[in-house]
């Protein structure tokens, strides 16, 4: 038996028409369709069968291929979604390239929707179209890209550490790149986490010990991504470490005695020596996980009195105050002064509304909900009431959003422990003024729970539940050309279909750089990202769909129209050849949309598996059949 040359020899097309046990043959004259098909160009075999999907049906095809009668296959039967893979499988088993196959849908799109002679005519036309395309088919092979068994994680908070841990557990080498001298990110600013009440420090210590103790993970602190190029399987990166300055030095001073792996409250987990001078490391990574985290909203000066009245603080500041205050019972003491009443104001720097809230210094509003602050605030309120029963707590909220498992209990317990709530509208927020009957400040607010009755509460402390906002990542965004949403967080491809992926293959999102999330959610997201990265790197190569753009250099004139049209970054590049500039596709970056095909006036670029020539052959066949018979 001659070796099949997979699409290189003259087409010999086999057409197989299915009766589908009457589902097709009751309305379509199968014999007539077979007869017509037999007369089409390149068709060497035309047969029918009651059930092409059955083993005997598939055997027909396999026999014809093996005996050399056919080298391209057309099956006319039900919708391709049901059996295209069945028939491709049969062809592959016969030793032929499975892409030398075309499917004609004559059940869902013919016999079930048309009756009478028109049905047979249309079936014939669809078979002719499939034969036309089959004549133009080429063998395709999946594209393989070598993949480095190494991943780089940017960000050393809980999400980054979890991602690094999970990547390493799959046998990959990992570089964990953290800007500050410490691991732990924003979670280090917490005391207890909700809803399990686990101490943030213990959580971080556990995670950091897994990361620091894993020889597959290299931690780079005081480090940033300085150079970035390449694509999935082979990102070429440079990591630059610089001696710490400014705030980092203050934090280092607070942790000067801490050994590597040790948690220092409100600072982070010490992670070994810091660089004395700038140094740069070059890496080749197969995949990247971005876990660059978030920042707390900083209230504007004068927003609820912040920055003007020393009794107005943020929630992270309160958490720290409470952690520092070892005494319990009676009232909370702040700067030696007892706090009789405290007001907690929700939604500061979240759920902002154009026209009501003034934009920040960058001109931006935080229209998003920050997701975690309701529960965090209630947790703080409960703790206040528990530790300092003589401190009265007032919460001013818009909607209480204790959505998560175990979160609603904080709301219930806050009420039961005597926290008094007031509901405000964004148009009429609480107003903080200096002085009161026997208090430092007065908070006035129209209470929506009492038809707008004005409350005027004398308090000694106002706590602003500040929201989460995206970290200023401008440099990284520009360097890696990362997509950013209207909310300024990094933007995934699709929240449901590809929730942790970016359009560029091999780059994944983890944690609050994508959207506000709590600790569990960030750890979960990191796991999801690590699972995706692990899946593509585990085999040592990345297998990509063959349906990508391909340039015919003999037709290309180097106009660059395809490069301009291309929707993916750097998927097509112009390269110098002895004949001048020519376009070249990087299959690892091409997403297969074909926009370049439409843009090329020379017809020099085509989408493999879906070429214009194939479509034209289909149209020609349809028009010939339709007008030949129907006219």
């Amino acid at each position: 038996m001659s070796k099949l040359n997979n699409g290189q020899e003259q087409p010999k097309i086999g057409v197989y028409v299915c009766h589908c046990g009457g589902n097709i043959s009751d309305h379509v004259d199968v014999a007539k369709v077979v007869e017509q098909a037999g007369g089409l160009a390149n068709v060497t075999v035309a047969r029918d069968n009651s059930f092409m999907c059955s083993d005997p049906g598939q055997e027909l095809i396999i026999e014809d291929i093996k005996s050399g009668k056919v080298n391209r296959i057309v099956v006319a039967s039900c919708a391709p979604a049901l059996h295209e893979t069945t028939f491709r499988g049969a062809i592959a088993r016969a030793g032929l390239n499975p892409y030398l196959y075309e499917h004609a849908n004559i059940r869902e799109q013919v016999s079930w929707v048309h009756h009478g002679p028109g049905a047979t005519g249309k079936a014939g036309a669809l078979v002719a179209a499939a034969v036309g395309k089959a004549g133009e088919l080429e063998a395709l092979e999946p594209i393989r890209v070598q993949a480095e068994a190494h991943a780089t994680v940017l960000g050393g908070g809980v999400a980054g550490m979890s991602a690094a841990r999970d990547l390493a557990a799959q046998g990959l080498k990992v570089a964990l790149v953290e800007k500050s001298p410490f691991l732990g990110g924003q979670v280090a600013q917490l005391d207890k986490t909700f809803p399990s009440n686990e101490a943030a420090g213990e959580l971080l210590s556990a995670l950091a010990s897994q990361v620091l103790g894993d020889e597959r993970i290299t931690v780079y602190t005081c480090a940033e991504l300085s150079e970035y190029s390449g694509y999935v399987g082979s990102f070429k990166l440079k990591i630059r470490r610089t001696p710490p300055t400014g705030e980092a030095l203050e934090r280092l001073a607070m942790a000067k005695d801490a050994a590597a792996g040790e948690f220092v409250p409100f600072v982070g987990v010490a992670a070994g020596p810091v660089p004395g001078e700038a140094e740069e490391v070059a890496l080749v990574s197969g995949a990247m996980v971005l876990a660059t985290g978030f920042e707390h909203y900083t209230p504007a000066v004068g927003e609820y009195g912040y920055g003007q009245m020393q009794e107005v603080i943020t929630l992270p500041e309160l958490i720290r105050l409470m952690a520092d205050e070892k005494a319990t019972g009676g009232q909370l003491m702040v700067n030696g002064k007892p706090i009789a009443n405290v007001a907690l104001i929700h939604c500061v720097g979240s759920r902002q509304i154009p026209g009501i809230h003034p934009p920040g210094p960058d001109g931006k509003l935080n229209q998003h909900c920050s997701r975690v602050c309701c529960t965090a605030t209630l947790q703080a309120a409960c703790e206040l009431r528990e530790k300092f029963p003589e401190t009265n707590v007032f919460e001013m909220y818009r909607d209480i959003r204790t959505y998560g498992r175990g979160h609603e209990e904080y709301y219930l317990n806050a009420g039961r422990s005597g926290v008094i709530f007031a509901r405000y509208e964004p148009e009429a927020p609480p107003v903080v003024t200096q002085g009161g009957e026997d208090s430092a400040l007065t908070v006035t607010v129209p209470d929506k729970l009492l038809a707008g009755e004005e409350l005027a509460i004398g308090v000694d402390l106002v706590v602003l539940a500040v929201g989460m906002e995206p970290r200023d990542n401008q440099a990284l965004v520009e360097k890696m050309k990362l997509p950013v949403g209207a909310d300024r967080f990094l933007l995934e491809v699709h929240p449901k279909l590809r929730p942790v992926e970016l359009p560029a293959a091999g780059i994944y999102l983890a944690g609050a750089c994508q959207a506000p999330m709590d600790t569990s959610e960030a750890v979960g997201a990191a796991g999801a990202a690590a699972a995706k990265a692990g899946a593509i790197l585990s085999a040592g190569f990345v297998e990509l769909d063959p349906f990508v753009a391909e340039v015919d250099e003999t037709k290309c004139v180097g106009s660059g129209a395809c490069v301009q049209a291309c929707l993916a970054d750097e998927a097509i590049e112009m390269t110098e050849t002895p004949d001048g500039q020519r376009a070249r596709v990087n299959p690892a970056l091409c997403m297969g949309c074909g926009v370049c095909v439409a843009a090329c006036e020379q017809g020099a670029i085509e989408l493999s598996g879906w070429t214009l020539g194939q479509y034209e052959a289909m149209v020609d066949a349809i028009v010939a059949q339709a007008l030949g018979q129907g006219a």
Partner: protein, 435 residues
């Protein structure tokens, strides 16, 4: 599946909804062999039954079908539909699961999904896939995008007239099928058993003994909104009127200690807003009102979605109304206190009322899998921070609504985390190397 047969996989995923499929695909893509065990006749879970999904408003079917097809065609995934897990224990390091294949009374190897039997069958049964608002037959394929596309007989309603056998082109009907038990052995397991809506809410309904024909559940509303729904447009089920006024009652069963459901069901605010938006597109003149306690638009782009709904004219009323009765014309009377305006008692009529019912776990692990249900009834995750998807059973993970109410985005993200947990467990078993 012959009785008593044993099949080996790397991982067993219990539940073929969106969370289970996402976890299965992640594991399969990493090279692990996965068995998906689904009790229903089709995979796809609740999501394939939805109309459009928030906050992107894309068509649920268009997002779910590719995942279903990917799982069905993946060389590393084997689907077991109509299969019930009897029990699963770790035996000699392996999760050993006893599974019962329930009879379809149709031979899956022969059925070609042509539905000739369904057209011929003389018995009409309320089609639960369409909220009960239309009929299916006693032999049927669940719906057009079900996977697998195989018929099954609803034995309870079948009159054994034999018409289906007569028309079946492949002789697939087999009334003599019986339950078959077999064993699946796997290193790890993922519990993605999803949720059900609270069913007994109508029995209390805050003061009204009966609810009437025009009070429906949120999943029923999904069917009314789906383009391939029972009426192919949004009509009220009591008499087919095109509703001019539709109300949503939030927290219908959720956040309620009295009902033993103190938790927030987490998705209802968003889907009510979404349904209201879709209705405002389908019925531009209709009044749409959402009665709520707190609007919980907490996810990415959710608050913006909520603001869009307000801008579109959806009315939000902070109140917990009661269903006071039905008017002879079919409208539903709601009664509540106007809290924000302070104008006292309000009585309002709506053509159609949707209850945003509480989400309950669909699976009780007791005596089946040695993991516990927490006080909320959902599967316990003892280390919510460091291993958010790990259950109390070694190498067994959970994701999606099985581990507490969750929307699709969060379910899929969690499925990734569960797949990661399972993959790590497998890698550790195999000495630190992935498949």
């Amino acid at each position: 599946m012959p009785n008593g047969d044993t099949q080996k996989f790397d991982s067993l995923v219990l539940g073929g909804g969106i969370a289970g499929l996402a976890a299965a695909l992640d594991l399969a893509d990493a090279g692990y062999r996965v068995a998906v065990v689904e009790q229903d006749a089709t995979i796809g879970g609740k999501m394939i039954r939805l109309s459009k999904v928030f906050p992107t408003l894309d068509c649920a079917s268009c997002i779910t079908t590719p995942k279903m097809a990917a799982a069905a065609h993946h060389p590393n995934v084997t689907l077991f539909t109509m299969c019930r897990l009897e029990d699963a224990q770790r035996v000699d390091g392996q999760v050993r699961a006893r599974v019962t294949q329930m009879p379809r009374y149709v031979d899956p190897a022969k059925c070609i999904g042509c539905r000739q039997c369904e057209y011929e069958c003389p018995v009409m049964v309320p089609d639960q896939e369409q909220g009960g608002f239309t009929a299916r037959k006693a032999i049927y394929i669940p719906f057009s995008n079900a996977i697998p596309q195989l018929a099954l007989i609803d034995r309870e309603h079948c009159m054994m007239c034999g018409k289906c056998s007569q028309v079946c082109p492949t002789g697939a009907v087999d009334q003599l099928q019986t339950e078959q038990e077999f064993i699946i052995e796997a290193d790890t397991m993922v519990l993605s058993t999803g949720f059900e809506l609270m069913e007994d809410f109508p029995q209390r309904a805050y003061g009204s003994p009966g609810l009437g024909d025009n009070v429906i559940s949120s999943l029923q509303m999904e069917r009314l909104l789906a383009p391939h729904g029972p009426y192919m447009r949004a009509l009220r089920p009591g008499d087919g009127k095109e509703p001019e006024s539709i109300a949503f009652i939030q927290c219908a069963g959720s956040r309620d200690l009295q009902l033993g459901k103190p938790y927030c069901s987490r998705v209802c605010c968003m889907y009510a807003i979404k349904q209201a938006m879709l209705l405002s597109g389908a019925l531009p003149l209709a009044d749409l009102t959402i009665y709520y306690m707190d609007i919980r638009a907490f996810g990415k782009n959710y608050e913006q979605f909520y603001n869009n709904a307000k801008a579109m004219g959806v009315e939000f009323v902070k109140a917990k109304p009661i269903i006071a009765g039905n008017n002879p014309g079919g409208s539903v009377v709601l009664r509540y206190e106007d809290q924000e305006g302070g104008s006292g008692a309000v009585s309002r009529e709506h053509d159609l009322v949707v209850l945003s019912l509480a989400m309950l776990p669909a699976f009780a692990p007791e005596e089946i899998v040695p993991v516990s249900a927490a006080s909320d009834g959902f599967i316990t995750v003892p280390q919510p921070k460091l291993a958010p998807t790990l259950t109390e059973m070694e190498g067994v993970f959970t994701c999606g609504a099985a581990a507490g109410p969750k929307d699709i985005v969060d379910s899929i993200a969690e499925a990734g985390a569960a797949a990661m947990g399972a993959a790590k467990y497998l890698a550790a078993q195999r000495g630190g190397q992935a498949a």
